[in-house]
Amino acid sequence: MVSKITYLWELIALILLIGAVSVALIPLMDDIFTSAEEDAVTVYLNTHESGGWSFGTPPLGAQTQNEEAGNIILKKGESAKIFLIGGDVIHSFVISDLGINSGPISPGKTKVIEFTPDKSGAFTIYCGVICSPEHHFLVYNLVVMEPDEFEDKTVKN
């Protein structure tokens, strides 16, 4: 008594439903929607208590060859872009040895810092605006490698 056309529409409805539910995978579409540029190093700024800063676009984290947990790795002499995303409260991105200070970054706002590292070594990155009781734990590393070192490392990965 139920026509085949009804079954067909039920099937279509079911497909639409599955499509709707799979919208829950939206976090994985971060590459499509973020305004970060492809070659930028993304840093997502959160308080230490909430997990600290993450390098690489959320939620997957470190994606590019410049990103690692807790570290940014750059090639000496090559211009770099750091894309900062404000997370839970106001932070700032400071590398005082290189004279880099992003200024306060508001939650939900972004800032791009462009610079060319001209000396190799390790430099301290820290949060320059008090953001929580554990603010002083927000300390990370910028590692600038000589070109051949950098190539070796990326080849290995």
Partner: protein, 658 residues
């Protein structure tokens, strides 16, 4: 001169005065005397920002006084400093002190200091009061509240009315018969696919709520799951209740999965009526408003977390979906909606004063009709899933979830959708079943929480918020749930908060209400009825319009101040600084936080509550008329109850502008 004329002669000019002062405030000048601008003495007001309040929380300034705010930053995070009606948002870095001013407040009244930089989960509610003396608007509003109460009592004194504002009270419009739109609406509502078509986009939205809540930015106002749900949706539902009845329930996705699973169909009718469900009988003793109403109260005990922590919000909805599916697999019909869903208590309770109703066109036809497919189900539509309503005989909106199944199943095409005057059926409903204590307590809980939330979220008593918040300053998504662990002291404070909330809603206010009901009955001179069995519950239905309007006021306040948060979340639901998203494909739809006319808020919010007050008193009279069957008794008892209702309006006025 007639007494009523005297009252009107006094109060109308007073209310005109209030309106005039409101307009002058808008234009920047004031009709009230202010100190001369020649005064060179500047007062320095020291104020300290912290998570999540200000110290001092109330500042009293004279109108015309020149002030500088010396804002001391927090030790642990940056804040912002903003005052209603002023056009600055000062950045207050941690450990620094910023001088803001000099400025002069010319207009008497109360304005709020708000934090303008996201500083943590309770940021949107980080509020302090500035009272500009002499606070004429406060007194004006107190008097106009009493005036509204008094005028309404005098209005009902004239006896039962047939018209209100020229519109006959029993006028009804059959929405499906309106020119042009009516037939289209009818075809839509009688189409089997309408339910799925309406719910599908909502499921998309819900999935984004779940996703952003678990994985997105841990701070609430940057996260779709908190900002859109607890600012936009919360407000939208209140207005939907007034104008569209239980239309939220029509499109709610929570029970949909369970219902489709049980029916083994998404939209079409099955051949055999064999639901995929155990089909157990639901215990009769649980089949009332208590489950839902207490659920709503339960949620309010954790509301400072619920409306600020994405994880908590998403967990609630995930849990509700699981419960929805589970209940349907056990009991087949909409018992989840009836007994578990907390929103059901208030949407159902207040829907009774909605303009909107699903009703039979002609109950005499329904009486004669034997098969009653609306109730039992038929080839074109399922049996009413909402259990208690016999659609053909519906005379109240409480339990009709507006799924429109009856419009499809009735072969006589007798079911329709009507628009009618507010509160037309509330008196009959109130008097018919006097033992519906679940409904009465839902009314008490809703009314008190509306006022309480206005105090807690937008008042300056930050410690109340802090108790409810258990003193935790961090947001939480799935990865940082561990942050939601209070100290034992904070937990004890929360217990205090819970006792206050539950105590006032469940015990104190109902006891006061009972006292007034008892007094009202005695003043009316009635000896045949008992307060407990005959008067108490019926009178509580006056809170159906009153509570709704209090919530309309509170949520309207919420949205006028914080609208930018939810709107921006459509483009960036996760709080990851996206420019666009599947919900907002247009780029750049991000808006800076900018409250809309916040200094005028009292002038918008208080009249809404006063309208509710008038409706409450009018409803009380209608209910009392049916109860006592005598105008004089009805009037006397209404006059007594109006004292309580007016007193609560005064409390609200004090919270807003006192």
């Amino acid at each position: 001169m007639k007494k009523s004329r005297k009252v009107i002669l006094v109060t109308v000019p007073l209310m005109a005065l209030i309106l005039f002062s409101a307009f002058t405030q808008l234009s920047g000048s004031s009709i009230f005397p202010s100190a001369s601008a020649e005064d060179s003495s500047v007062r320095i007001i020291e104020i300290r920002a912290f998570q999540f309040g200000w110290d001092p929380e109330v500042i009293i300034i004279d109108a015309g006084e020149k002030v500088i705010f010396r804002v001391e930053g927090d030790k642990v995070v940056a804040h912002g400093f903003y005052i209603d009606g002023q056009d600055f948002q000062m950045y207050i870095p941690p450990l620094e002190t910023v001088d803001v001013g000099p400025m002069v407040f010319n207009t008497p009244g109360k304005v709020k200091i708000r934090c303008s930089v996201t500083c943590g989960p309770l940021h949107p509610f980080m509020v302090a009061d500035i009272i500009v003396e002499p606070n004429y608007p406060y007194f004006a509003f107190l008097i106009s509240s009493i005036a509204v109460g008094g005028i309404t009592v005098l209005y009902v004194k004239r006896g039962p009315k047939k018209k209100m504002l020229g519109v006959p009270l029993d006028k009804e419009i059959d929405l499906l018969k309106i020119r042009v739109i009516g037939p289209i609406l009818k075809k839509l509502l009688q189409w089997r696919g309408i339910h799925f078509a309406l719910i599908l986009p909502n499921i998309v939205v819900f999935m984004i709520v779940l996703s952003s809540g678990f994985f997105g930015n841990p701070t609430g106002n940057l996260n779709f799951s908190v900002a859109v749900v607890w600012i936009l949706w919360l407000t939208a539902v209140e207005f939907m209740i007034l104008f569209l009845g239980r239309t939220w329930c029509t499109i709610c996705p929570l029970p949909a999965f369970g219902e489709w699973l049980a029916r083994r169909r998404i939209y079409s009718m099955p051949y055999l009526r064999k639901p995929f469900s155990l089909g157990l009988k639901f215990p009769k003793s649980l089949n009332n408003m208590w489950g839902s109403g207490l659920g709503f109260l339960g949620i309010s005990l954790v509301v400072p977390w619920l409306v600020t922590r994405p994880w908590v919000s998403s967990m609630l909805f995930a849990a509700l979906i699981v419960l929805g599916v589970g209940t349907t697999l056990l009991f087949t019909r909409r018992y989840f909606c009836r007994v578990i869903c907390p929103a059901n208590s208030y949407i159902g309770y207040h829907a009774n004063i909605s303009f909107f109703a699903v009703r039979s066109k002609d109950k005499s036809i329904c009486d004669k009709h034997i098969a009653k497919e609306c109730l039992r189900g038929g080839p074109k539509g399922h049996a009413c899933p909402w259990v208690t309503p016999y659609p053909g005989g519906l005379s109240e909106n409480t339990w009709c979830g507006q799924c429109y199944e009856c419009l499809k199943s009735c072969p006589l095409d007798t079911m329709t959708v009507k628009y009618r005057m507010i509160g037309q059926e509330i008196d009959e409903m109130a008097v018919k079943s006097k033992k519906r204590f679940g409904m009465a307590w839902t009314g008490f809980i809703r009314f008190n929480l509306g006022i309480f939330y206005e105090l807690v979220f937008f008042g300056s008593f930050w410690f109340l918020k802090d108790w409810g918040n258990m003193g935790i300053n961090f947001g939480a998504n799935l990865f940082s749930v561990n942050l939601l662990s209070p100290t034992s002291q904070a937990f004890m404070n929360w217990v205090l908060w819970a006792l206050i909330v539950a105590g006032v809603s469940l015990v104190i206010y109902p006891a006061v209400f009972y006292g007034f009901s008892s007094l009202a009955r005695r003043v009316a001179g009635d000896t045949t009825l008992s307060t407990k069995n005959d008067v108490f519950v019926p009178f509580s239905y006056a809170l159906a319009p009153y509570g709704l309007f209090v919530w309309l006021a509170f949520t309207f306040n919420l949205v006028l101040v914080n609208w930018a948060y939810p709107i921006s979340r459509f483009a960036d639901p996760m709080g990851w600084a996206w420019n666009s998203s599947p919900l907002m494909p247009i780029e750049g739809m991000m808006f800076a936080w900018s409250p809309i006319v916040p200094d005028m808020l009292p002038y918008i919010v208080i009249p809404i509550v006063l309208l509710g007050l008038a409706l409450a008193i009018n409803s009380t009279y209608n209910i009392a008329s049916k109860l006592f069957g005598d105008h004089s008794k009805a009037f006397k008892s209404t006059a007594v109850m109006s004292v309580l209702h007016t007193a609560m309006a005064l409390v609200f006025v004090w919270i807003i502008i006192g």
